[in-house]
């Protein structure tokens, strides 16, 4: 049964230094408020998993929280590079980080395999790609029935997954709507999970096939209004494309980034990103 906690308490309880953490949300519903809470609590040596690191991991990497990043597409969508990720990989600032890169298909399958309790994901992938030569977690196996050579990657099984969603009811059941990404898979694959929501309602008011994650499959639910900004929450607010564009200049420069972090994360008394951008 999900416990209702403040975002501060949920992160303090479940995100330990050195943990493997997946904060998911495929462009949509990116859990920025939770990411900022992790930065504020100065968590260190995290292995961060996410298909598209996006600005959220750029911020966590720049803040020194990450020791390793596992991803499949590391850019600022439609804008360009993630400069904090690049600075860490290329110049070791603020610390050296290790990267392990996959394709989207591999990571999507790996999350699904994690949710299914399997040790690996098997799929038809990486044919002719040189990614297997730089990632020792990509292997090939032979189908025992047809002999076809197929790709295999370990399943993703994070210590804690953090996702954002539209709303929860009072039992902690959570509704995820719109682009659902790998959110459900991330929650089910993890030992612990934190789901931040826009609001708590009496009734989820949904249809039979909606993407609902039962409260008993979630560790903690925390309210974080506008908790996905500058990403968006379908049905609540739009993506701030303007901020994604502005981020390029902020993230390019170490001082500008540090200042931004001070102003908007460390000294943000409201404790959510939504009011600061």
């Amino acid at each position: 049964m999900a416990e209702f906690l403040s975002l501060h308490d949920a992160v303090a309880r479940y995100v330990e230094d050195g943990a493997t953490v997946a904060m998911e949300g495929f462009t949509h519903l990116i859990p920025f408020a939770a990411g900022h809470e992790v930065i504020r609590q100065k968590k260190r040596d995290l292995t961060l998993i996410r298909m598209t690191p996006d600005i959220i991991y750029d911020q966590l990497i720049g803040a020194g929280c990450a020791k390793k990043v596992i991803f499949s597409w590391g850019g600022n969508p439609g804008v360009g590079s993630l400069h904090r990720l690049r600075d860490a990989v290329e110049k070791g600032w603020p610390r050296k980080i290790e990267i392990l890169e996959h394709s989207h298909a591999a990571m999507a399958c790996a999350f699904e395999a994690g949710a299914a309790g399997l040790p690996l994901a098997v799929f038809r992938g990486y044919i002719g790609s040189e990614l297997p030569s730089v990632n020792d977690q990509i292997k090939f196996i032979e189908c025992p029935f047809t002999g076809e050579r197929l790709a295999a990657v370990p399943s993703v099984r994070p210590d804690v997954s953090i996702v954002h969603a539209q709303r929860a009811d009072r039992q902690g059941n959570v509704l995820v709507e719109g682009i659902v990404g790998v959110q459900k898979e991330a929650v089910l694959a993890a030992k612990h999970s934190i789901v931040t929501v826009e609001e708590i309602v009496d009734d989820l008011d949904t249809h039979p096939n909606a993407c609902v994650i039962p409260g008993w499959a979630i560790s903690a639910v925390a309210v974080a209004e506008k908790g996905a900004l500058p990403s968006y929450t379908h049905g609540y607010y739009d993506r701030s494309n303007r901020f994604y564009k502005e981020w390029d200049a902020i993230a390019r420069d170490r001082d500008a980034f540090t200042q931004w972090l001070d102003d908007n994360v460390f000294n943000d008394v409201q404790h959510h990103a939504g009011e600061t951008i």
């Binding site: 462009t27 804008v79 002719g128 682009i179 494309n241 994604y244």
Partner: protein
């Protein structure tokens, strides 16, 4: 009198025309997305556009800045989870064409979106593979569109993120359950297709006002030209109007929020 248009517009219109009505197309963000939506708004109203964010049969009114913009979901027939998108729809063989962009491409149409330089000490770190490695092998065929330059068109890519025909042109030979691979590359100067035997890219059509020298100058290997070199048909007034309206709507929307 012929219409006035830019080389970028020529590229988008030519890329759009490559898509036939009724095709199912897995769309990459950026130039492919612009071309695919232009096709849908002109000659191919029944083209099915799929984006890796899970949006199936989507009809965005503006071009998405990111692969997961709300517009894609709101205008889609349905939206599925990302694992389902890659497993059932792409790997399951439901996609006719993968439409991709790239940072680097070589003479065998291998794509590099990983990095420039050496993997351990990159000169420029690029975003990475994303959906492309499996789109390029699981889709029936692949169209590629990007601007022509010596930096982008190199003899050998620094890193094969995504298979064209491999470093020797034979990367798809005897591989079961694999698509045809790149069948055309559309740039702002020309259209290229792989040689049926060697799989090396060959210029089959030059855009109006572009010379062989222009293409040679912008290509990092000794580019060959087809014996029957054609002139790419120019954009129509209707195509240009719809493309410009689409881009203007997009710009207004992205500046807003």
């Amino acid at each position: 009198m012929s219409l006035e248009y830019t080389s970028s517009e020529m590229m988008s219109v030519t890329a759009a025309r490559a898509l036939e009505n009724g095709m199912t197309c897995f769309v990459g963000i950026g130039l492919p997305s612009e071309a695919a939506n232009l096709a849908r708004l002109t000659h191919a109203p029944d083209v099915v556009l799929i984006y890796e964010s899970g949006t199936l049969q989507t009809k965005p009114d503006i071009l998405p800045l990111s692969i997961g913009d709300g517009e894609l979901c709101e205008s889609a027939l349905t939206t599925v989870a990302v694992p389902e998108m890659f497993r059932y729809w792409l790997q399951g063989g439901k996609v006719d064409v993968g439409f991709l962009g790239t940072a680097q491409i070589d003479r065998f149409a291998n794509l590099n979106t990983t990095l420039i330089g050496d993997y351990k000490a990159p000169k420029v770190r690029l975003p990475g593979g994303g959906g492309a490695p499996e789109i390029a092998t699981n889709a029936g065929e692949v169209f590629i569109t990007l601007k022509h330059s010596k930096r982008a068109f190199v003899k050998d890519v620094d890193f094969v993120t995504t298979l064209g025909f491999g470093r020797d042109g034979k990367g798809r030979d005897n591989v079961p359950n694999i698509g045809k691979g790149p069948t055309r590359v559309i740039t702002d100067l020309c259209v290229m297709k792989p040689d049926p035997e060697t799989k090396e890219l060959v210029v089959v059509s030059l855009h109006t006002g572009v010379s062989r020298e222009d293409v040679i100058e912008a290509t990092g290997w000794e580019i060959r030209f087809a014996e029957q070199l054609e002139s790419t048909p120019e954009p129509s007034e209707n195509e240009l109007t719809i493309l410009r309206e689409l881009k203007a709507r997009t710009e207004r929307a992205h500046a807003g929020a």
